[in-house]
Symmetry: D3
Subunit: 161 residues, 6 copies
């Protein structure tokens, strides 16, 4: 059930946190994705490093998971919610010279977890940028969007393919 | 002077923070940008709200500035750096039905501030998503990239237009 | 039911977090208020700014809401509690040349949310000070007190008028 | 040199962090103060506890010092500044049945430290409230104001007595 | 029921947060301990200070409690969990010239609280080190281990004496 | 030059942050170390995981580095200091069935960085514990001590072997 008003504003137009006191506790899941494009040389270096000891993708994954837990400190009107699960998958795509990032968050609670999934995707992307910026300053992060959302009265959402 | 190695990994391939003890204190500036696309109805609501009291764009701006100050807590190998300036500009573009976001960070210090500019852009974008998601779940954040960088021995960088 | 002992100290006089494991989950609400006095010129500038694009009061409101979510990191013996709602109202009072601040916090949980309401009021006040201090250093924050509290075994509290 | 404009807003009225890149590094000091009024019984309990092992005032002092270090995370447009010193003094005043709180912050840097002193005073006050609220819900925090400020081009400020 | 696999890694060997969505809410308790050895002179100074106004052990206790609330921000794959209780006991042992530290954490929830107890013990120890390092740089922190754990399907654990 | 008084307490015995305003900017280095003992089976699993994709030691290293940047938020009287470098080395020792942890921190500044090195060591150790606790609850963290310190007026310190 999509709404036609901005729930983060009250009737007088003042910004406001949504009151979730009377909402039901249900399982909420959200999946977001995005990608970071880079030079093929850069991706090659990331993949080589992986074979050795350091691991750009593992570090980006950990950064994404830790950031998801900080979402409420970053997004002003987000609720503090104790996530039951968050994961970040990073798939290198040599054909398109990019890394695809996908994050899933879930909990049993009173409000959705889209922003947690989005935060994980964006911070994982930025971590890749940070670790590779000495060799490639022109990486571009794009296509950050919601893939799936379930739980709560607004029902299930799946991005069109 | 672009490098050909990942400075965040030492000779044995272990991830590592860059040692900036002996770097020079120079003025460092970085500008990053990105955009969030949305339905034209959504943008219209944002702009109407703005005319009233609440203000999606002001809140997104504040969120971006505050997030820039937390960059080192989000990106694992970033240094703690006391920024001298950070700003976030949000320009609604009704023709393309999007909001363009541009962040600038600067300081006189030993290391660059790209990641701070990027963090400001992404968190400002996510804040817009959060505040409008009740009416539009298909917003897409994209084109997050470095526009300008100056200071430090690697010299000036400007994105190709 | 007001107590006659400091619950934050155990029988030997050692400081201690209150054990809330066996407390009931009930709806808890707290409202706190305060005010910041200033020169009439300062208030006039705040209100003018508001008519234009920037907005001292919106930023103070957002700062108060975000701070409420950090209460447990600020007040040593406070519990981490995922708030269901927090709001901050700022009312300019030109007659008395001040801004009145009022914050409400609530959740269904095992412990009260007074400190969250207080933190929102004080940080919103300090944000106004910060944004106006270049023109008025003599602003005074005062009358920070609990207005209402309900939920939990200690019963309802309402400040005397 | 007091200014007549709000430095936290640019010429178009948009909120903005002050750019301190070109400011001088000078020693900056700020002192703020406030008080928390309570029932005489409450103050007596605080002072008794002090004679035993727990110590309301020591904990409030530590909370104030730690909060000062978080100021930039709480006040949206404050700069991150590595304080060289912060202290909080708490003086019980049995005659007036209150605790007087005074905080001093200083550093050699490019911007003032008033907000750090204010944050220390308010969070120390709230910590006292938290630790005594089980016996006294009517405590009032007031008279939070700047006492002294020196360093920087705006010159020295001392509150009128 | 001890497991024979690392639950923080999925079947492909990727690091992963444990999914606790379907776990039962039960009371979980954990106790951890450790000690910091020092010169007998150092311990004497700590105990003298205690008799006066400042109190190394009170400050270390508060630091441990506050750190327990930040565990999920420190340990990458820990869940955010709203603790119902955390306490830290510090016992000076003049015979062995050390301070013994013991922390207990508990909540009714879906996952254990060992890491919260451990974080409290280690940060309390480090706080003692910090406050005494000007007179004794050779203090050693050791024997940090789990003493007790109950709740959850893995059953009760008690350290062998 | 070792002192004979606790610099974190003033003349009246009140706890206090050390005033570093007038200290010299010099290069400060600190190295701390510690170890975590475990069953040989546990260490074997860590090392096997390493050969596959996940990596307990990389994650522990990242956790240690990130924690070092939060030292001032954890240790009450520590100064906020922008580290120029922090690194954490983890060496598995199959003979003694433990992982040795060693952290180095440095900056050019007014105060030492021992606590940052210690925080990195302890949080890296706890991260190993967290990731392996499902198979081994009896791991013990010990021998956390200062190995080296240089810079500042107190001169160089090296632990006795």
């Amino acid at each position: 059930m999509k709404q036609d008003k901005l729930t983060h504003f009250d009737e007088d137009g003042n910004p406001s946190m949504v009151d979730i006191n009377s909402k039901n506790m249900t399982k909420r899941v959200a999946i977001a994705s995005g990608k970071i494009k880079m030079q093929s040389e850069t991706l090659k270096k990331i993949l080589n490093i992986k074979i050795k000891k350091g691991d750009v993708l593992t570090i980006a994954k950990i950064a994404g998971i830790m950031a998801a837990k900080k979402t409420e400190q970053l997004i002003p009107l987000c609720h503090s919610i104790p996530l039951s699960y968050v994961n970040v998958d990073l798939s290198p795509d040599t054909k398109n010279s990019c890394v695809n990032i996908r994050a899933e968050a879930s909990l049993v609670g009173k409000t959705g977890v889209e922003m947690e999934a989005f935060t994980a995707v964006t911070i994982a992307s930025l971590t890749i940028y940070d670790m590779c910026k000495s060799i490639d300053r022109e990486m571009v992060i794009s296509d950050i969007k919601l893939i799936h959302k379930s739980g709560g009265k607004s029902g299930e959402f799946n991005a069109k393919v």
